[in-house]
């Protein structure tokens, strides 16, 4: 090898490249295990190949400059071979293989040039190490600075975020509609917002100058400060109460107060957070609403609501307590209202209220307006039996003087019903009803007086007055039911049919018979829907019997028609609809009309009955013999049955029978039969009676002797029995 070959190693390019490659392979195998690079070993080798070439070139440079090798050390650091072991292994590989693979060849190893090569190699290693150390130092410092800067940046970001949050929270704190304050556990106020200061009257030092415990108020609920002590001790996290405070000026501030305990990071109690919602106005409003809800707007007297509360309290009072109640209704007020107008009527009521108010001034007395011209006065004094009459007399007394309204002298009188008695026996509703009934008694007796409640008289009034008002609801609630009394063939005693008798199962008074409520229903017109219901039910029942128990022949059904029903234009349509709806043959239905309802009936009134009779419906003349009938008239009526009133047969209950009765019945039966009318007798109670009537030729009968009215299944049993 000549010196020129040292200067121009590329003269043998193939051989050198191959050796450089092998050097790079060895190098990469040495350092790869101690690198953290994500490159593969082959990639690392590719990375090291140019570095190997640089080393080789430095080794052979005409002017030797080892500093070039510093680049090699730096390149290792750049390739993330930062582990000191990577340097150590690199130097080992350079030391052992650089001259071997990139030098002049083993033959010249003892040459001065080879000697020079090894010296160069050693100095190259020094430079690689220096370059590595320098680059690693620079990189380490750079990375340390970068991470420190990042940590600072993160902290500063967090501080700005905290600041932004604090700013927002401060805005919430200051702008909140509720008062917010923070105090330490000793009660020293540390922070408070504008709202809280304003709530207390606008002086901040007034709030700050006091400890939390100085905020007591005489109207504090007793447990407030107990709750507060528990919170300070850490036994509760928060509490919420309604609490009054004194403002700067001594006025009262009502609040919903919430106190919460704030703990430190170790969980120890640290601060108390106070939230105050000003409820002063709401409270006033509530009081006003409560007043308005319990007082009459016109007269300012307590209204029905407040009165009921007081009465409730009075009658549910302890033992030996009594109460007295005056129920006042003005006499003739309606006339004043109608003739002079409501405005005058109202002014009159205001004056009456004032006068009544002056009558009930003793403790335990009150006056209230229930509505319209109805007032009540209540006394719960020690001697109500005496006091309540006194009270009623005073009321009648103050009403005696004429009342001047709009320049007129109006004379007003009143009727008073008094209820007096021991507490704990009756409900408010019962007391008021009794007072109302008694007041009506006073009114019927001419007014301008008081009457005292009497249980017996009440009961009688109830059947008239109370039942009338309860009737419509009773029909809706299904309180009516029907009992059936059998009609029996007199010749063989078999069941011919039944009369439907309506009953009212009254929730308070029990089962009521038709004579107790039918006149009332007549009076109010409720008889029409009630009658329609009875017809429907009875026809449905008859149909049921026909379908299920026709063994003894079809059973007929008798249904009563009241005078009002008779006049009702829907009678025929309703009846037809009911029959068609059920499928019952018209001939199985008999409508019973009282004789008195048909007295003087003109053709117009008889027309619907005639229509029904033409369809095949039987019409029976009920209570025959009580209404001074024009017997000649019977021919004209669309009637097929006569029901003989029980008064004719009463004389035959026991032997010896009254011969006059026998003659009369005999005559009627003969007359009826000659007009082709069947005769039914009512009120048969004994066997003797039955036998006598059978002999007289009556066709059918009903009465206790055969069966009392009962539920529909009883009739069925009876019918089966006679079929056997």
């Amino acid at each position: 090898m000549t010196p020129s070959q040292i200067v121009h190693p590329a003269a043998d390019p193939d051989g050198l490249e191959d050796r450089l490659r092998r050097f790079a392979t060895i190098w990469s195998r040495a350092v790869f295990p101690v690198t953290a690079t994500s490159l593969t070993r082959a990639e690392v080798e590719e990375h090291l190949l140019p570095l190997a070439r640089m080393l080789s070139e430095s080794l052979h440079a005409r002017v030797f400059d080892p500093r070039a090798a510093q680049r090699i050390g730096a390149a290792l650091v750049e390739a993330h071979c930062t582990d000191p072991e990577a340097l150590s292994r690199t130097l080992g590989v350079v030391d052992a293989y650089l001259v071997l693979y990139c030098g002049l060849g083993p033959a010249q190893s003892t040459d001065p040039a080879a000697e020079d090569g090894r010296a160069r190699c050693a100095r190259l290693q020094h430079a690689v190490a220096a370059g590595f150390a320098g680059a690693l130092r620079t990189r380490t410092l750079g990375e340390q600075e970068a991470i420190a800067r990042s940590a600072l940046q993160a902290r500063s970001d967090a501080v700005s975020a905290l600041h932004a949050t604090e700013t927002r929270l401060r805005a919430v704190f200051e702008g909140a509609a509720i008062g917010i304050g923070i105090a330490d556990l000793d009660g020293n106020v540390l922070e408070l917002n504008e709202t809280l200061t304003r709530m207390f009257g606008g002086l901040e030092h007034h709030v700050r100058g006091k400890k939390v415990t100085d905020w007591a108020h005489p109207e504090d609920r007793p447990h407030v400060w107990q709750l507060h002590r528990e919170l300070i001790r850490g036994e509760r996290e928060h509490f919420r109460v309604e609490k009054p405070f004194f403002r700067n000026d001594g006025t009262v501030l009502w609040t919903n107060l919430t106190v919460s305990l704030l703990r430190d990071t170790e969980g120890r109690p640290q601060y108390q957070l106070v939230l105050l919602e000003d409820t002063t106005e709401r409270r006033l409003l509530n009081l006003r609403l409560r007043y308005e809800a319990t007082h009459d707007a016109l007269t300012g007297l307590p209204n029905r609501t407040l009165f009921s509360e007081r009465l409730e309290k009075a009658i549910s009072g302890g033992e030996n307590r009594r109460f007295g109640l005056c129920y006042l209704d003005l006499d003739g007020f309606k006339v004043i209202n109608d003739s002079l107008g409501h405005a005058t009527g109202d002014r009159l009521l205001v004056e009456v209220a004032d006068r009544l108010q002056s009558c009930a001034t003793a403790p335990g007395e009150m006056v209230a307006r229930l509505g319209g011209d109805e007032f009540v006065a209540l006394t719960t004094g020690p001697d109500t039996q005496h006091e309540v009459r006194e009270l009623a007399s005073r009321i009648l007394g103050v009403l005696a003087a004429p009342i001047r309204v709009d320049g007129r002298e109006l004379s007003v009188r009143g009727s008073i019903g008094i209820v007096e008695g021991p507490a704990g026996e009756r409900t408010t509703a019962e007391v008021l009803r009794s007072a109302d009934i008694t007041m009506y008694r006073a009114k019927s007796a001419g007014g301008n007086r008081y009457e005292i409640a009497d249980p017996e008289l009440d009961a009688r009034a109830i059947t008239r007055h109370g039942l009338t008002t309860a009737l419509p609801a009773a029909l809706e609630r299904g309180e009516f039911f029907i009992e059936y009394q059998p009609l029996v063939h007199m010749d063989d005693g078999s069941v011919h049919g039944a009369e439907a008798l309506v009953r009212w199962h009254h929730p308070q008074h029990g089962v009521l018979g038709p004579d107790q409520f039918i006149p009332l229903a007549e009076h109010t017109g409720l008889i029409v829907p009630l009658g329609r219901w009875v017809l429907q039910e009875a026809v449905r029942q008859a149909m049921y019997w026909q379908e299920n128990h026709a063994d003894g022949g079809p059973l007929r059904i008798n249904v009563n028609l009241s005078p009002t029903q008779l006049h009702h234009p829907g009678l025929v349509t309703d009846t037809v609809a009911v029959l068609e709806g059920s499928g019952l043959a018209p001939g199985a239905l008999c409508l019973e009309v009282t004789e008195s309802a048909l007295i003087g009936a003109d053709e117009q009134l008889l027309k619907p009955l005639r229509q029904l009779a033409d369809m095949g419906v039987d019409i029976a003349l009920d209570d025959f013999g009580t209404g001074y009938s024009n017997l000649a008239n019977l021919r004209r009526l669309p009637v097929s049955v006569l029901k003989l009133d029980r008064s004719f047969t009463q004389g035959m209950q026991h032997l010896p029978v009254d011969p006059v009765d026998v003659k009369i019945v005999e005559g009627i039966v003969s007359l009826a039969h000659s007009l082709e009318l069947a005769v039914t007798v009512e009120g048969v109670e004994t066997g003797a009676q039955a036998e006598q009537l059978r002999e007289l030729g009556c066709d059918t009968a009903q009465g206790w002797y055969y069966a009392r009215p009962g539920p529909p299944d009883r009739l069925h049993a009876l019918s089966l029995a006679d079929a056997v």
Binding site: S38, A146, I147, A151, A161
Partner: protein
Amino acid sequence: MERPVWAAPGIDISMPSVSRMHDFYLGGSHNFEVDREAARRVLALLPGLPKVMQANRAFMSRAVRYAAARGVTQFLDIGSGIPAFGGVHEVALKADPDSRVLCADRDPVAVAHGRAALGKGAAAAFIAADLRRPRQIIDSPEFAGLFDPDRPVALLLLSVLHFVEDADDPYGAVAELRDALAPGSLIVINHAAYDGVPVPEEQAARAVDVYREIRNPLIMRSQDHIARFFEGYEMVEPGLVSPPDWRPDAPAEQEDPYAFTGFAGVGRKA
């Protein structure tokens, strides 16, 4: 007590951070003594740990190149940590210069560092977000700004799921992410496991204890449990394997024994 919103975890640099420990394992200096102290305790038990990291990063490189080769150039890297060198961003841009990369981490120091490192390019962003709250990421303006939601995304969950405890429902979070991505999207996961660790499991468990002590528990999961993160996606060949066995460039036998620790895999949304 719930941590206030402004007090993100990791601000307290007197506590070790797994991001900075990771950097130290890889020979970096983006760390503080407290990190190095913890890392040295781990290294005493698992001296070859850097090789695990290296194998995982090599897997990441191959997976990113795999994605880019299939036209998936939107990369969502959650739990990026401190990308000292050869990070997702670097590899992706090298594989396809049009790549978009969104990095996310809940460690604010890592975020600050990541932002400084990424600079203000239009193709990459780094956000402070938590994997446990996936909507923070999907609904972020950066996500909307960088990605076309109709095109597939490569979701990279690299060495991050093993820092999410079951109590924080990592399966729910990953499912939400999977469901949010367009068909053709890829999910790239590597996860720590006792499988393949070349030391007795008891010794590895003591290393795991160190992470619990620094309040950043490391959750070792079985292969079956790790496979559940891919639910609904088709596994790309060769499936869920040790990191060096996933589509190696060179024969995997040459690797350090530590490299075969844990599992790695890629799933694809049909």
